[in-house]
């Protein structure tokens, strides 16, 4: 079962990195969003600094939406999903594998790119570790919550908009605490508040990892069978 799980994750990463998966798309979109902000706000440094955490997180959310709808849909459309669901993995673990692959392709690169973006947006250098930590802790939640949306819209052509519409309300807490962590860190380094926000973020991610796959599997069963 471990072998099956790893094989699936590896396959999904490989497919996403290639055609139609749009792993690169997320990063580029993220960059564009972040690059747009100074355009709108003007290069006023203190304002930018204030906005930076929020913009980074908003960009993150939007970028993760971009690739969500293909998470299950591609496999369902070409019949692979039938075969996957007959394998040794319960559907819940299939959902975990796919969420994980999604995170590796969209979340992880963004976490790695975060410091660069932070500099572009004038984040104080001391907050960088906090920013990265918050993103590392928070982004998995996006993929795992997103899986439910992706599962619910399986079978809907051009489900991208619908999936985003369904998922965004559930992204709100991640956004709030994600921004909270970075902002708190920016104000008072090593602050109590930052640590607390991180804890909340961690809790949300854990909950998403625990519940997301169950929801996704339930939705897939309901819709496909």
């Amino acid at each position: 079962m471990r072998r099956a799980f790893l094989a699936l994750v590896a396959r999904d990463i490989r497919l996403a990195a290639g055609i139609g998966g749009g792993g690169g798309m997320a990063v580029f979109f993220f960059l564009t969003v972040v690059a747009i902000v100074p355009l709108g706000v003007g290069p006023d440094r203190p304002v930018l600094e204030l906005l930076a955490p929020g913009m980074l997180w908003v960009g993150l959310l939007l970028a993760s939406l971009l690739t969500l709808d293909r998470m299950f849909q591609a496999d369902v459309e070409d019949g692979s999903f039938d075969l996957l669901s007959m394998g040794p993995l319960p559907l819940e673990l299939v959902a975990v594998a796919k969420s994980l692959a999604h995170w590796v392709v969209t979340g992880l690169p963004l976490v790695i790119a975060a410091p660069v973006l932070g500099i572009l947006l004038n984040l104080p250098p001391e907050t960088m570790p906090w920013l990265m930590l918050a993103m590392l802790v928070g982004t998995p939640a996006l993929s795992f919550i997103g899986a439910v949306g992706a599962a619910l819209t399986v079978g809907v052509r051009r489900g991208g908009l619908l999936a985003s519409l369904l998922v965004l309300p559930f992204y709100v807490p991640v956004l709030i605490f994600g921004v909270g962590a970075v902002e708190a860190a920016a104000v008072g380094f090593e602050g109590q508040a930052a640590r607390q926000a991180l804890l909340f973020l961690g809790a949300i991610t854990l909950a998403a990892i625990a519940i997301g796959p169950l929801g996704a599997a339930a939705a897939l069963r309901a819709i496909l069978r």
Binding site: A4, A7, R11, E77, D78, S80, D82, S85, G87, P88
Partner: protein, 209 residues
């Protein structure tokens, strides 16, 4: 034929699709080493029945059971399903595809991917991306998947479609070998698959009423 007591039995099955009753009151039994051929006009419910057995479609009523196999696994995990959609990824190569399925399905003592390709006369194409295959070659690759992970029950939906004469013969031998090894085959088809001594279950549109 091995002395296995594998047995696939369906009792009083019914199927509803998109709000329409497709069939009801369907019962059958197949023992180890035997094949059941599903025939009938388009829309009679052959594919639907296969998907129900494979656990891919809700069983509205009645039940299907596979007894005598691995008691820890459901039917789905003990069967191979080959449907109209081939589930192949254009960008993966032929050999990668088989390697993935072998790893995913848990190989046991199955044939290696290379041997499976050999059996389906695909060996020269091993490193090509799936996108480069012709229709028949794709279908042969789908069938080669059955060789890389041993499972006792094969559910085949029109498996001979797009195959040339030589490949149809290969498929026949492949199925015969599976039966000889104590496996079970349920196959839907409009053509003769050359399964000797197979029972036939004919579905008709009237079964629904």
């Amino acid at each position: 034929m091995t002395t296995s007591d594998l047995r696939l039995a369906a009792r009083d099955l019914a199927c509803i699709r998109g709000g329409r009753l497709v069939f009801e009151g369907l019962s059958f039994e197949v023992g180890a080493g035997h094949a059941l051929v599903l025939t009938g006009p388009n829309g009679a419910g052959k594919s639907s029945l296969l998907r129900q057995i494979a656990g891919l479609l809700e069983v509205e009523q009645g039940e299907v059971a596979l007894t005598g196999g691995d008691p820890e696994c459901g039917i789905a995990e003990q069967s191979h399903y080959v449907g109209h959609l081939d589930g192949l990824k254009p960008m993966m190569s032929v050999i990668e595809t088989l390697r993935f399925w072998r790893a995913f399905l848990g190989a046991g003592d199955a044939a290696s991917p290379d041997a499976a390709l050999q059996a389906m006369a695909l060996a020269p194409l091993a490193d090509l991306p799936v996108a480069y295959l012709s229709a028949g070659q794709k279908r042969r690759l789908s069938l080669a998947r059955l060789a890389v992970a041993p499972r006792p029950l094969w559910l085949l939906d029109e498996p001979s479609v797009a195959l040339d004469a030589a490949s149809v013969a290969r498929l026949r031998d492949f199925m015969a070998a599976h039966l000889a090894g104590g496996g079970i085959i349920v196959a839907a088809t409009h053509l003769d698959l050359g399964l000797q001594g197979a029972a036939e279950l004919r579905l008709t549109r009237e079964m629904a009423s």
